[in-house]
Structures are given as structure tokens and as C-alpha cells.
């Protein structure tokens, strides 16, 4: 029997959310950057596939941090790099 495993339900995987276009604009304006200056995540990343994000989406990642308690991070979903 094959069991479906949801990686996002594992406790070490931080929360990933897809930003709306408005939220992306706010983010880019805040740091005065173009979308390509964001950190990246590959489209075939397991989490990306699981939450149904596609190339061009920006993910907001909320993770537990050793130094700050909770920290926020953003990643742009990109096509797999060579």
C-alpha cells in the first residue's frame, strides 16, 4: 500500500504561503528591488509542488529562528537551474 506523505505537515518544514500580486508589489517596493533580486526556490522543490505554486510566484516562508524566534523569508519560484 502506498501512503501519501505530506512534507508540509512535518514539524521541521516551515510554513510556506503564496503571496498575492498585491503583496508582491508591496514587498518589492519595500526593498526597492526587482523580482529577480529575491532569493530563489526551484519549481520542482517538494514544498513548491505540494502547495501548488508555479514559476513566478513568491513564497513567504515563516520559520523558527535560533536568533530571532520567528523570522520571515521570501523566495521566488524559478525554473530548475542547470
Amino acid at each position: 500500500m502506498k501512503e501519501e506523505i505530506k512534507i508540509t505537515s512535518h514539524f521541521v518544514v516551515p510554513k510556506h504561503e503564496i503571496l498575492t500580486p498585491d503583496e508582491i508589489k508591496v514587498l518589492l517596493d519595500k526593498f526597492k528591488i526587482s523580482i529577480n533580486q529575491l532569493p530563489r526556490i526551484a519549481e520542482d522543490d517538494v514544498v513548491v509542488k505540494e502547495i501548488g505554486a508555479s514559476v513566478g510566484d513568491v513564497l513567504k516562508i515563516t520559520r523558527a529562528s535560533l536568533t530571532a524566534g520567528v523570522s520571515q523569508y521570501y523566495r521566488l519560484v524559478v525554473r530548475e537551474q542547470l
Binding site: F31, L38, T67, A68
Partner: protein, 838 residues
């Protein structure tokens, strides 16, 4: 400034034979270097048309002299083509995707893709000509086979020549593949392989030249043999030899072939060896460069200079200079130093006129030049007191390994530094040497002063606490001063303060406590409470067990490592939080001098008799050890009878080991307790218990018992079959036979015990050297990965393309060098804000 353009792209490629011919000036055809008269032979490997290396001569190609002429390439026509070893793997990949007959790409893909992709899907049969493809095999470093038959470079080249350009474009290969099979070998200019003339007049040639001579010689022999129609096997052998020589000319550390060697047996340093490794061109000459205005010598400690000073020997101060532009403000000083000349400190070595002419100041010319000097001249004056210099000790593992100090010129030949700055440099004085650099411009000096001066480095970004702090004797002295027993007359107190160079008002009393003397150095507003090292781990509370400082007065407790020591000193930490960097460094200077002043008046002596145990204590120690040995014998007995109960997840055997180790460790702990309760208070114990130097473990091992020696954390098991040494019975599990040392260093070790201690000592040595190498390499990788990262003004961490790496530095935005042990100190912040309102 020159017109600057941004580099759009760089393309690396391979030289075509045509290009090689075009860039060459000479055809090399002769293996001899010089004629009998010692002149280089035309057409030889040292042909003078390839550049000049002898000063005075002019280049026969471009007419330039040494320095102007960068040299010119020659070329060598190879009698047979050979594979470029450094591209052999690429050649292999290409062979696998190119048809053996028509040279077309073995793929149906007709759009741009990658070589990797085509290799995955390469056809067995060519769709162009229908030819069945053989199996290509590659053996390092440069041999190829097709269906078990050797494939020689000539046929590979023929195959590659047929490949159409369009096919190469598909797999993004921008060169002609046949260029990877060398037919014309470029001969590098003599300027990159200069020969040196020894004192004997003998010429010594560069390794590259030696290799080139080999290549030319074999090439000639091959050519002759082909011309006379020699048998195939001879030609094959020579061809192979030519391949070997050209390959080792590129890289002399190829696996699978012997390295080319000198007659002496030393391996030749060829092209790849010139570039590779720490000593290679990249890391040694491009990534790192030698600098001027620096000095290096042995260091020694000096308690009488400040922590932000460095003692510079006069000899060095006279060699290192700073260019001073002459103005109204300094003309008097400059004239004075020029008059002193180059040999009297503070003097000057050179004077530069406004037109740029540089004049050496000599004993004869010094007065004349001093007269001549007006505003606008630049004088290279000696290093003087107060100049800002950078001081460094390798390995430079963190930013405090290079700090800015103020110069203090001193006699003798060593750099002097205050003991309190030895922790950040990780320096001791057993022969350590340090480097000193002199910033030459005002900007550089200002920058060094603001960012790198010792005062600004007191708090380490590694753990967010003070790293520059008193140690050793300072701590012993402060402890002795601040004990409640220390009460002195006003005269004695004044004497100590004067000795320490401290100007402070003593309370007007007959008898003054040491605590009161210490309190003179504290800021008047300081309030702090903490536990002293002296009382750490002690259950019962004594009067002095907690340190209490109120309104800048030491009310209770002794001052020791946890008060002022490196990495934990609570007082230094607190002062650093509430005062300016200058006040912190003043405190460290004064408090450390006060410590040594105390020792200088009281005296401080340690000796082996400090570790003497009373007869009673000795009895207790041997009883504790004997009891432990009996208990262990019991355990072994139970084990042998099969009555021993194992630990979960461990074999019975391993469980026994654990039990034995535990029991013996307990015995050693007991010894420690016996020692600390029976050894009378003396200076050795003071040092151990205040954290000044050594520990109670050291005292215990010297006085009572050394304990279990381990290898890899286990009792010692290695040696003979079922026993460690032939002196024991097989299967002996007793403590003595497996590394337990029940005697003390003072009592002396038995031969067995000495052997166990040596095993353990060897492991420690190995560990240390392995660890330093390992961490050095980790450091290097980390530096390479992080070197371009920068915290921008918007508090984002960016890489060199300005892309974001972190949205908040370190996720919490805290500068560890300004943190409270890595965290934000809320209480201190609130207190500072509140006190601002008063």
C-alpha cells in the same frame, strides 16, 4: 580618468593552429639551447626573438628592453598530432556523440541543447549515414579505444574535422573540436621561463624550458623515423612519448603516468603547477600580494603600555615611514626630522619635491634638504609615537586578529603589547611573531582609527562578551587585593596606586581595605551583582561568595575571572555597556596594572611544595583509589560469573567498560575533593580557584591521582592479542592493565602508567594538529562563500549582484559585537533610557 566600460561578457576558448601561427614569431625546430660560445641558437627553445631576459639587451622582435617587451610566442610543428590532456575528458564526450564516419551529431534533436543532454540520448546508429557506432572507451590521462582497438589522435582529429558547425552550435560548442588535438604547439616566450645565471657562470634553465627541450627532441626523433619509414611499433612508441612529454608540459601531476623529474629527483613544475595550490599564481600572486611598509618580529608582553599601544623597536621605526605633506602646521616638525637624517630617530628617509623628484636624505644632505623644504613637499618621515598602525597575528581567524594600535617607539628588538590584548590575537610569548602595517594616507589612518582601534574591539562578535581583558597575574593580584583579609595603611595603598600609575583620591582613613582601593577605579554609577569564580560550585555561602557593587563601590565579594576575565568578566561587560570605548580601555589598563602592583608589593610564589598533601590526606587518597580498584575487581568478578546486569543498548562487555570508567572517575573526583579540602590555601590554589591560571584538575593530578588515560574516549585496549602489553595475563580487565594511572605526577608514574600517559598525550597532539588543519580549510571555504556579502543601509544582506540574501541580517538584525552574549539586553536599554531623563 580613463573611459570605463562595463564588461559584458568574457569568452574562454581554445587557440586554433592558425591563431598560434599568427601570434608566433619563431618556428622552433632545434633541441639545442646555446651554441659553443654560449649564444642562444636561432630556432632553438631559447631563441632571442621570443623576448629578452638579459638586462641591457634589446628584443630582436620588437626592440623593447627588459620590462617593455613582454615576450613573443614561438611555435612547434608536431610530427604527429596529440590529445590536449586538459581537454581529454571533453574529447571523450565529443567522441561519444559524433559519428565515426561522417562526423555528424548522433542525435535527432534539432534545437539548441546541451552536450549533456545529447550524451544521454545519443543514437547507436548515425541517422545521417547509417553507420553503426562503436563503443568508445577512455583511459586517463589520454588514451582512447573504440571497440577494444586503440584510437589514435590522428583519427580522432579526422573525425572532428568532418563535424559540421551547425551540429556544434546545437550543443553550444564554440570551438572547432579538432583544435583539441594539438598539431601546432605554442612555445611560451622566454620571459615566462627566464634562465638564471649562477655565480659559477653556469646557466640554470627554467623547468618549462627543460620540458620544451624534451618535447622538441622527441618530436625530431619521431619526424626522422617517419621520414625514413621506420617500423610502426617504433613510431607508435615515439608518438606515445611525445604525447607524454606534451601532457606533462601542461600538467606534471597527472594520474596514471610517471611525473617528469629533474636529475635530482625533484618533480618539474610545469604550467598547471604554476597556477594551482596555495603557492600557485592565483592564491599566491593574484588573490594575495606582498606589501611594503610592514614589519615582523617576535612579540613580548609589556604591562606598562596601554592596550591600544604597540611597542615598536627603534630599528623598525627608522625603516618604516609615513609620507607627510609639508604645511604651515607641520613644517617645523618636518624640518626637525629631516635635520635628524635617516639614522637618528625621529628622522626621515626621503623628501619628494612638488615636481615629483624624490631625494634620498643622507647624513651629508640632511641639513641642505632641511633648508630647501617649503610647503608642498612630501617628506617620508620615520614612524613616531602616536602614529596609527595595524597589528596582526596569524592565523587571522576573526576581525580582532588585525587591530589598529598607537605606536610607541622603544629600545631593543621586539614588538611589545599589553597582555590584555593577547586573547583576541591568541598570542603567547614563547616565540610568537606578529606583523605590523603602516597605513600611508590620512584616509587610511582615519579609517583604521575609527573601525579597527583596540578600544572598539573589546566586545567580541563571536560570543557578544568582552574578549580584551586582564588575565593571569592581573587576576591573581586583583583577587589578593580585594579579599576581605587585605587591609593596609594609607601609605601602602598610596604606594600600590602610584606603582600602578593611578591618580585617585584615597579615603581619609588610617586603615584602608583592598576593596576600597579597587573601588577607586569603578565608575561612580556602577551597580552590579554576580557570582565570583572563587565561589562557583561551592554550596555553602561565605561572606564573599557573591560580588556586590553599589554606586561604584565594591561592597562584597572578590574580584577574579568572572569579574574582569576574558570571555566572562561581568564588570568589563557592564562598563562597556554604559560607558564609552575609551573608558573601558582606561579601566582595563588601570585594573590590570593595579593587579600586578598588588603582586609586586605582596609577592607571589608558586612551587612544587604547594602540591604537598598531608599524611592524612595521602592516606585518604590511597584509600579512595584502593576502594575503587576493589570495586572494579568486584565488577569484573560479577561479569566473569555472568551476574553483571547490562545497560540498555549495550553489550555486556561494553556495559562493564562503562561501569569501570564510572567507578574510576568517581575515585578521581573523590581525590579532587580530598585535595581541595586538605591542601592549605596557597598561591597555586589561588590561581586555580580564581581562574587566573591552571585548574583544580591540574592540582589533583599533581598532588593525588592522574586518573584514567583514554584513547578515543575508551579505556586503552589496543596492543597485543587480548591484552595491552605482554606483562599482563590474557583477558586481564583490571584498571592498571587498561590505562588507569593511580599515582600523581609528583609521586611519579610507573613504567606502565607512563606508557598510558604517552598514548593519551599522542592522541591529544594528533587531535590538535588535525583540528587546526580542518578548521583552517573550513574557514577558507566560508570566507570564499561569504566574502561579497554586505549589509546595506536598508538592513538587507546582499550579494555582489545586489540580490537579497537575508531580509534581516542574521534573522534578528542584531550586531553580535554590540550584543549581550548574542542577545538584546532589554534591562540595560531601559536603564539607559531612564537615566537619560534624569
Amino acid at each position: 580618468m580613463a573611459d570605463m566600460k562595463e564588461v559584458q561578457s568574457i569568452e574562454f576558448g581554445v587557440l586554433s593552429p592558425k591563431m598560434i601561427l599568427k601570434m608566433s614569431t619563431v618556428r622552433i625546430a632545434r633541441a639545442e639551447l646555446y651554441d659553443p660560445d654560449g649564444y642562444p641558437i636561432d630556432g632553438g627553445v631559447m631563441d632571442p626573438r621570443m623576448g629578452v631576459i638579459d638586462p641591457g639587451l634589446r628584443c630582436r622582435t620588437c626592440g623593447g628592453s627588459v620590462g617593455d617587451c613582454g615576450g613573443h610566442f614561438g611555435y612547434l610543428e608536431l610530427a604527429r598530432p596529440i590529445v590536449h590532456v586538459l581537454y581529454a575528458k571533453f574529447v571523450y564526450k565529443l567522441l561519444k556523440v559524433i559519428c565515426r564516419k561522417c562526423g555528424k551529431l548522433l542525435t535527432g534533436i534539432r534545437e539548441k541543447t546541451s552536450l549533456k543532454e545529447v550524451m544521454k540520448t545519443a543514437n547507436k546508429k548515425c541517422q545521417g549515414c547509417g553507420e553503426e557506432q562503436g563503443e568508445i572507451k577512455f583511459e586517463k590521462p589520454y588514451s582512447f579505444w573504440e571497440d577494444k582497438a586503440p584510437l589514435n589522435p590522428m583519427s580522432i582529429r579526422e573525425r572532428f574535422e568532418k563535424t559540421p558547425d551547425e551540429d556544434l552550435e546545437l550543443i553550444r560548442v564554440r570551438i572547432r573540436p579538432e583544435w583539441l588535438i594539438i598539431t601546432i604547439l605554442p612555445v611560451p616566450p622566454v620571459t615566462v621561463r627566464p634562465s638564471i645565471t649562477l655565480e659559477t657562470g653556469e646557466r640554470s634553465e627554467d623547468d618549462l624550458t627543460h620540458k620544451l627541450v624534451d618535447i622538441v627532441r622527441i618530436n625530431q626523433r619521431l619526424k626522422e623515423n617517419i621520414d625514413i619509414g621506420a617500423p610502426d611499433f617504433i613510431i607508435e612508441d615515439l608518438w606515445e612519448l611525445l604525447q607524454y612529454h606534451v601532457s606533462t608540459f601542461f600538467d606534471n601531476e597527472l594520474t596514471g603516468v610517471p611525473h617528469a623529474r629533474h636529475r635530482s629527483g625533484r618533480g618539474l613544475k610545469t604550467l598547471v603547477q604554476r597556477l594551482k595550490t596555495k603557492e600557485g599564481r592565483f592564491r599566491s600572486n593574484l588573490a594575495g600580494k606582498r606589501v611594503n611598509f610592514c614589519a615582523r618580529t617576535v612579540i613580548s608582553p609589556d604591562n606598562n603600555i596601554d592596550i591600544d599601544e604597540v611597542g615598536v623597536p627603534e630599528i623598525i621605526a627608522k625603516e618604516l615611514t609615513i609620507p607627510s605633506r609639508v604645511t604651515d602646521f607641520n613644517i617645523a616638525m618636518v624640518k626637525e626630522v629631516v635635520k635628524n637624517g635617516p639614522n637618528v630617530w625621529p628622522g626621515a628617509n626621503y623628501a619628494i619635491r612638488p615636481d615629483g623628484r624624490k631625494k634620498k636624505i643622507t647624513e651629508e644632505s640632511r641639513n641642505e634638504i632641511a633648508e630647501e623644504i617649503v610647503n608642498g613637499w612630501i617628506v617620508e618621515r620615520h614612524l613616531q609615537n602616536g602614529d596609527i598602525v595595524l597589528f596582526n597575528r596569524q592565523p587571522s581567524l576573526h576581525r580582532m586578529s588585525i587591530m589598529a594600535h598607537r605606536v610607541k617607539v622603544m629600545p631593543y628588538r621586539t614588538f611589545r603589547l599589553n597582555l590584555c590584548v593577547s586573547p583576541p590575537y591568541n598570542a603567547d610569548f614563547d616565540g610568537d611573531e606578529m606583523n605590523l602595517h603602516v597605513p600611508q594616507t590620512e584616509e587610511a589612518q582615519a579609517e583604521a582609527m575609527l573601525l579597527m582601534q583596540v578600544q572598539n574591539q573589546v566586545r567580541s562578535p563571536r560570543f557578544g562578551g568582552p574578549i580584551i581583558a586582564p588575565k593571569n597575574d592581573h587576576i591573581s593580584g586583583l583577587f589578593l587585593l580585594t579579599r576581605k583579609e587585605t587591609i593596609m595603611t594609607k601609605e601602602e595603598a598610596a604606594q600600590i596606586l602610584a606603582y600602578a600609575g593611578i591618580d585617585a583620591e584615597l579615603p581619609d582613613k588610617e586603615k584602608i581595605a583592598g576593596k576600597e582601593v579597587f573601588s577607586l577605579l569603578l565608575p561612580k554609577t556602577l551597580d552590579i551583582e554576580f557570582q565570583s569564580t572563587w565561589h562557583k560550585g561551592k554550596a555553602e555561602k561565605e561572606e564573599d561568595s557573591n560580588v556586590v557593587i553599589k554606586d561604584g563601590k565594591l561592597v562584597k565579594g572578590v574580584i577574579d575571572k568572572s569579574a574582569v576575565g576574558s570571555e566572562e568578566g561581568a564588570i568589563i561587560d557592564k562598563i562597556d555597556k554604559v560607558s564609552t570605548p575609551q573608558e573601558v580601555s582606561d579601566f582595563i589598563n588601570k585594573v590590570s596594572r593595579l593587579g600586578t602592583a598588588m603582586l609586586d608589593t605582596r609577592g607571589f610564589t608558586v612551587g612544587i611544595s604547594d602540591n604537598d598533601l598531608s599524611d592524612e590526606a595521602k592516606k585518604l587518597v590511597s584509600k579512595a583509589i584502593k576502594k575503587a580498584e576493589e570495586d572494579v575487581a568486584d565488577l569484573i568478578d560479577q561479569y566473569n560469573k555472568g551476574k553483571l546486569e547490562g545497560l540498555p543498548d549495550r553489550s555486556l562487555n561494553a556495559s562493564l567498560e562503562v561501569y569501570i570508567m564510572q567507578r574510576l572517575a568517581k575515585a578521581v573526583n573523590e581525590c579532587g575533593e580530598i585535595v581541595s579540602s586538605h591542601v592549605p590555601e596557597n598561591d597555586t590554589i589561588f590561581m586555580a580557584r580564581t581562574g587566573a591560571r591552571g585548574s583544580l584538575v591540574n592540582v589533583t593530578q599533581t598532588a593525588a591521582c592522574i586518573g584514567q588515560e583514554t584513547v578515543l574516549g575508551q579505556r586503552i585496549h589496543r596492543g597485543y592479542l587480548n591484552r595491552t602489553l605482554p606483562h599482563f595475563k590474557k583477558g586481564d580487565l583490571s584498571p592498571i592493565s587498561h590505562g588507569f594511572v593511580g599515582t600523581s605526577f609528583k609521586a611519579g608514574l610507573t613504567p606502565f602508567e607512563f606508557f598510558w600517559d604517552s598514548l593519551n598525550g599522542r592522541e591529544g597532539l594528533m587531535d590538535k594538529s588535525l583540528r587546526t588543519r580542518h578548521s583552517g580549510y573550513m574557514e577558507r571555504r566560508l570566507v570564499n562563500a561569504l566574502q561579497d556579502l554586505k549589509v546595506k543601509y536598508d538592513m538587507t544582506v546582499r550579494d555582489l549582484t545586489n540580490s537579497i540574501v537575508q531580509f534581516v541580517p542574521g534573522e534578528d538584525g542584531i550586531d553580535p559585537a554590540k550584543s549581550n552574549w548574542g542577545k538584546f539586553d532589554v534591562d540595560n536599554f531601559v536603564n539607559m533610557e531612564v537615566s537619560k531623563d534624569d
